[in-house]
């Protein structure tokens, strides 16, 4: 009997740096000697690109589109440091049902005991974080991931998505679903951004597990189709990801979050928006530079 891998789901709004963060966590864990699978749950199927030199891999649902009987192992590819890469995949934009796609793909791997057979230490789900329907909630439901982390910047839209995710987790926590491990605060470079995200974390009783600054190193690594861990192993940024991976590896206890209600969230963001406007005015006033009008 193989051991049970630690299963972690990382959610975040599209474009927030979720796949970049997830891939770097996977890479750092693999570098530390763990056996890791990264499972991309986004119809774009690009979660694992930087683990495979920028290459796209055929997804589980690509296989299903070709034939009725699927050997899920055919959708598992080895990437950087032996990381097993899987993409759920999904339909083309505007057709079919991406949520059902995730249900089908996850179920196929579970039924065929792919996780057990590979004798993994970690399965990391990288999930499109708007949680718009039941399918996107599958990784947080009973029997799949135990811990959820959310990648969020100080951008309001990203925080909305995080709060929505918290609502999902709160809902499923009654029926044995995954609990919240914390927020990975991404692209945080100014004190102000830090204040916003800290305030949100405070309001929702959620720990921030790591601050990840925006960095050119990451962009350069991505452009070369690699994670920062692989492309710039000695960089400061790589050490940030390593610290994050260590935190996640050691993380044991997650909690039920206390999301803000839609009204509370509106009020909260309005308050911060006022701050932002205030600050910009002050900034403009200080500089007193005339605008160039074309």
């Amino acid at each position: 009997m193989s051991r049970k891998p630690k299963q972690i789901a990382i959610y975040g709004k599209g474009g927030i740096g979720k796949s970049t963060t997830t891939s770097n966590i996977s890479a750092a864990l693999a570098e530390a000697g763990y056996k890791v699978m990264q499972f991309g749950c986004d119809p774009k199927a690009d979660s694992t690109n930087t683990l495979r030199g920028g290459e796209y891999i055929p997804s589980v649902l690509d296989l299903l589109a070709e034939k009725r009987r699927v050997d899920a192992r055919e959708a598992v590819f080895k990437g950087f440091a032996g990381i097993y890469c899987v993409e759920a995949g999904g339909p083309a934009p505007g057709v079919g049902c991406a949520g059902r796609g995730i249900i089908t793909a996850v179920e196929l791997l579970k039924q065929q005991r792919v996780f057990e057979d590979l004798d993994l230490d970690f399965v990391i789900y990288d999930v499109l974080g708007d949680v718009v329907c039941g399918g996107f909630a599958v990784p947080v439901r009973e029997g799949i991931a135990e811990h959820v982390f959310t990648v969020s910047s100080a951008d309001f839209m990203a925080i909305y998505a995080a709060n929505n995710l918290f609502r999902g987790i709160e809902k499923f926590s009654n029926s044995g679903g995954a609990l919240l491990g914390g927020i990975i605060a991404n692209s945080i470079n100014t004190d102000f951004q830090r204040e916003i995200i800290e305030d949100f974390a405070d309001k929702t009783s959620t720990p921030i597990v790591q601050f990840v600054p925006r960095s050119l190193t990451v962009t350069q690594a991505e452009l070369s189709g690699k994670t920062t861990i692989e492309a710039a192993p000695h960089s400061e940024q790589a050490d940030v990801y390593r610290a994050l991976a260590r935190h996640i590896a050691g993380h044991e206890i997650s909690k039920v979050p206390t999301p803000l209600s839609p009204a509370e969230l509106r009020e909260w963001s309005a308050r911060w928006a006022e701050h932002v406007v205030q600050m910009e005015r002050t900034e403009r006033g200080e500089r007193a530079r005339p605008r160039v009008v074309a």
Binding site: E66, K67, R68, R69, V70, C97, G99, R100, I103, E107, L108, K110, Q111, Q112, R113, C133, G134, G135, F136, A137, V138, R141, E142, G143, F172, N174, S175, G176, G177
Partner: protein, 503 residues
């Protein structure tokens, strides 16, 4: 590969067994292709080739896994089935109610309407999710009927929106204190309704069969059947075995006894998921000998049961006595049936069994219509290759059609066969079709009729009852019209419309 009971959803038989629903050719070829594709995988002798499925441009009517799962859950006593679905999915429950009462009458139970509730999902539930309504329905079902177990059957609708049925079931189970068993039977998951058997058997194995390792009983044998009267006890009691008859209407006590038995037999390998699971989880051996249709197969079946339950010293006398008992009547039947041509329409292993019975009675069977085909079984044991066994022991069936109960294809197949009679399951569709074509028909609703030594007599006599009704059926045919154009009315190739082979 072993079946996976750790996940709440059963893997479909399309995926596990490579089940197909459309094919035609000779039975020999089908058996060969199945073995080639799923047993040896490479070159396993001359004539080996990959099993390819045909594709038909349309489907007239069929059913889905949900109906099988729901019906067979509903007829388990002291339970309530909740269909978490739009109301249309519940239409088949009128059949279940009739079926349940009929079963009760045949088994000497008090006839009762089975308890079933539908969550009646609407547009609103599709948009906002239906789990709250499900939770409320579970509470209501418990308050109204005080069942000992509640089943929750999913539907296509809830499968697509991803309602968390497992989580809700678990939560309510804690609240009301009885097992709430989720049955994942979305119709779109499998092309064949028989996947519904796997779903209900998966639910039973996971939740309703406690492990009782200290209560093993050497004299108890599980019999998994499709439903109907108990024809097994008369056959097995004489070798000192008590029958635990399950599926097709049973009690929770019988299910709880499953893990204590000395062995399990299935009357049809289509239902063998439960048997394989019992062997895998509780070490209750599954009898894999070919099914007991025809004299030799019944002998071999009884011997295998005796071997596994240490009753070899008793079995030969029973076999000899049974053979002797039926010999005169069998001889009479063979005399009357010799030279008749029969057409068999039934599901997979059961069809193979009926063909063997008819051939034992001296009837010619060159044409058969199977509702699906499983190229292998969950045990993966070649012993359970019922089609291969049929061909080896009784010869080829030259026109073997696999079709999911499609009328237009059955019409062509029957026209090609020109049989003296049709013997079939799915009486609502196949029997009516044959009757309207003017052919005497023997519908078999309860599929235990042809089993064992007595089964030969039962089936033989029943055929003799329908054969003289030619004029009646001719009258029916005269007043029947089919919704086909002339060219199809004369077509004798069920797959004439099939364009290309599909993967």
């Amino acid at each position: 590969m072993a079946i996976n009971l750790r996940t709440p959803q059963a893997e479909t038989r399309d995926q596990r067994l490579g089940t197909i629903t459309q094919w035609q050719g000779s039975a020999r070829q089908l058996a060969q292709d199945s073995t080639f594709t799923y047993a040896c995988g490479r070159d396993c002798g001359p004539g080996g080739r990959r099993l390819c499925e045909l594709s038909s441009p349309y489907s007239q009517a069929s059913m889905c896994a949900e109906q099988i799962a729901v019906t067979n859950a509903t007829i388990i006593k002291d339970t309530v089935v909740i269909q978490h679905s739009p109301i249309g999915c519940a239409s088949s429950q009128s059949f279940t109610s009739r079926y349940s009462r009929d079963l009760a009458a045949r088994r000497g139970w008090k006839p009762e309407d089975p308890k079933s509730i539908c969550t009646n999902l609407s547009e609103q539930d599709m948009v906002f999710g239906g789990v709250d309504r499900l939770a409320q329905t579970i509470r209501e079902a418990y308050a109204r009927h005080h069942p000992r177990v509640i089943f929750v059957a999913t539907s296509c609708a809830t499968g697509i929106i991803g309602d968390d049925v497992d989580g809700t079931a678990r939560q309510l189970e804690e609240e009301i204190g009885i097992p709430v068993v989720a049955l994942h039977c979305e119709g779109f998951k499998s092309r064949h309704w028989s996947s519904g058997w796997d779903v209900i058997e998966h639910g039973i194995l996971r939740r309703l069969v406690p492990n009782r390792p200290t209560e093993k009983r050497g004299d108890l044998i599980n019999v998994i059947h499709l439903g109907g009267p108990d024809v097994f006890s008369p056959l097995l009691n004489p070798i000192g075995l008590k029958v635990n008859l399950v599926m097709g209407g049973n009690s929770l006590e019988r299910l709880a006894d499953l893990s204590t038995a000395a062995a399990t037999v299935t009357m049809c390998f289509v239902l063998s998921y439960l048997a394989t699971g019992l062997e895998q989880e509780y070490g209750v051996p599954e009898i894999r000998a070919p099914l007991p249709y025809g004299l030799d197969a019944t002998d071999a079946w009884l011997r295998d049961i005796a071997r596994l339950t240490q009753r070899e010293h008793l079995v030969e006398a029973v076999i000899a006595a049974e053979r002797e008992r039926i010999a005169p009547e069998l001889k009479r039947l063979r005399g009357l049936l010799a030279g008749k041509r029969g057409f068999v329409a039934a599901g997979a292993a059961f069809a193979h069994g009926l063909i063997a019975d008819l051939r034992e009675l001296g009837i010619t069977v060159d044409d058969a219509f199977s509702f699906h085909h499983d190229p292998t079984t969950d045990s993966g044991d070649a012993e359970q290759d019922s089609l291969g066994h049929l061909v080896q022991s009784t010869g080829d069936v030259p026109n073997f059609t696999v079709s999911p109960d499609q009328h237009f294809q059955a019409h062509a197949a029957i026209l090609r066969a020109k049989p003296d009679f049709v013997i079939c399951r799915h009486s609502g569709s196949m029997a009516i079709l044959a009757g309207r074509m003017g052919i005497p028909v023997l519908p078999i609703f309860y599929s235990n009729d042809g089993l064992g030594y007595e089964g030969l007599i039962t089936i033989g006599r029943a055929i003799l009852r329908v054969l003289p009704r030619r004029r009646f059926y001719a009258q029916i045919a005269e007043h029947s019209r089919f919704p086909y154009q002339d060219w199809w009315l004369n077509e004798t190739d069920p797959y004439a419309l099939s364009a290309e082979a599909a993967e």
